[in-house]
Amino acid sequence: MIKALGYFLEIIKGGLITVRHFVTNMWFHTLKVLGLKAKRRGAVTIQYPEEKKELAARHRSLHRLLRREDGKPRCVSCLLCVTVCPSECISVEAAEDPDSEIQKVPAKFIIDLSRCCFCGFCVEACPEDAIRMDTGKIEVAEYRRADLIYDLDKLLK
């Protein structure tokens, strides 16, 4: 009997926890609706399209290719990123460069974002610091797959 009463007490205590959450959250919601200053918000939700969460400094977002001071891409077509890419989504075609210091430049640099897993290995492998994933763009969605294939011009933007 005493055990049963103990269970009953615990059931009520459990109910009081949700009541407490309900009452405090409703209190902060009401304060917000009335336009008063509140200690915190009524919900932890971030209302995504209107309100965006700040990305972490090391967040891996959409790729970009960097340029030299004269505007040419830094990439020297060493194919290290192509080799390291686990989803095999990068394809690079090299071309000759008249500058003997550089020798090779990419004629084509294509990342198929529909396959990319955003692991960031290409950034780590790059010896020239030519590719980075710091654009902060995380909404890479398209209606057609062809639009997800990013070429040199799109990546250099």
Partner: protein
């Protein structure tokens, strides 16, 4: 003229019932969200006008109406279609016995604010709520799917184990307020104990209230007593349903919540009674009073009834979002070994106290 009044009453009661059901889905989403520190559905809008997601129930309803009405090839088509309508009908009809308020005097007529003043209204509601199980058993059987059949049979087993306690727990109330008509039970609760405490059923029958509350929670077939559905193990009796037919089952659930709230308020919390409010105005227990016109009194009564109902709907949703579900055998244990002995104890205790007070 009487027929016109009756039709108007039926339409108003049904509209009240269905609109409250629709907005109970909204309340359920919002309340669970607030409990869990979320916001809840707030995107449905008309011309970018969102207003707390209040249009969400209509969006859901439109979606359900336009979904494909699919009947599996292996199902018994007639019974498969009949089952949700049975379920819905038996709950929807219970509204006719619920007293919304006292009588309304309008143009020399006295209109009872109740669709039908049955002299056995309480038994009528209980009977109709029990008949609702036919929808569940039929849907489980007619779908010809093992899991739906399990759900239907579980529903039947659960019904047997709590329905006895549900009926027995109300015998105490019938002893205290000697009537089976809900309207007169509410009228009895207008009196005061010792001159100032409202004579509500919960004060006279606390144990009966607890037993009835648990049994009524089981009646609604939602978590913590969702044996027929059992979302985490069998999907339940409505596995093979979709679109509007599934929607009927869902609405049945919510309508049962409202009916249970209506029963709780009517039997234990004074129905449409406002403390110290009589037909001519307030009579304060410390002497004096405040006379009110007839219309205001009726409005106050309707308002009190609605507030009490919404409170109990809120409480039931809170319980649904707080507690984990019972195991199958635990529900049986609770019904047969705890609730029925307690309700029998309540009957004996009530009898002894009434004998001494005579």
């Amino acid at each position: 003229m009487d027929i016109v009044i009756a039709v108007i009453k039926i339409i108003l009661a049904l509209v009240w019932f269905l609109v409250l059901t629709l907005y109970l889905t909204w309340l359920e989403r919002k309340e669970s969200a607030v409990i869990q520190d979320r916001i809840g559905a707030n995107r449905a809008n008309i011309w970018k006008f969102r207003f707390l997601g209040l249009f969400q129930p209509f969006a859901d309803a439109i979606k359900m109406i336009f979904k494909e009405d699919f009947v599996p090839a292996f199902a018994n088509k007639f019974l498969h279609t009949l089952a949700p309508f049975l379920s819905f009908f038996f709950v929807a009809i219970t509204i006719c016995a619920v007293p919304f308020g006292d009588t309304l005097r309008l143009g020399g007529r006295t209109i009872s604010l109740q669709v039908l003043d049955l002299n056995a209204g309480l038994l009528f509601i209980l009977a109709m709520l029990s008949l609702g199980i036919y929808g569940i058993i039929l849907s489980g059987w007619a779908s010809r799917n093992r899991f739906t059949l399990l759900g239907g049979i579980r529903g039947a087993a659960q019904l047997i184990s709590y329905e006895v306690a549900l009926g027995l727990s109300l015998i105490g109330i019938i002893m205290v307020f000697p009537s089976l008509s809900l309207q007169s039970i509410v009228r009895f609760q207008g009196e005061n104990i010792l001159g100032f405490i409202p004579k509500w059923g919960v004060l006279l029958q606390p144990l009966g209230f607890v037993v009835f509350f648990f049994a009524a929670l089981a009646e609604t077939k939602r978590v913590p007593f969702d044996m027929p559905e059992g979302e985490s193990e069998i999907i339940g009796f409505f596995t093979e349903y979709g679109g509007l037919k599934w929607g009927l089952f869902m609405m049945t659930d919510f309508m049962e919540i409202i009916i249970v709230s209506a029963l709780l308020t009517t039997l234990f919390f004074g129905g449409w009674q406002v403390p110290w409010l009589a037909a001519d105005g307030f009579h304060w227990p410390w002497g004096g009073g405040r006379a009110l016109p007839h219309g205001v009194v009726v409005l106050l009564q309707l308002l009190a009834f609605n507030i009490k109902i919404v409170f109990f709907c809120w409480l039931q949703i809170l319980i649904r979002w707080t507690y984990p579900r019972f195991r199958y055998d635990q529900v049986m244990d609770l019904g047969w070994k705890v609730l029925i002995p307690l309700s029998l104890l309540n009957i004996v205790g009530t009898g002894i106290v009434m004998g001494f007070l005579k």
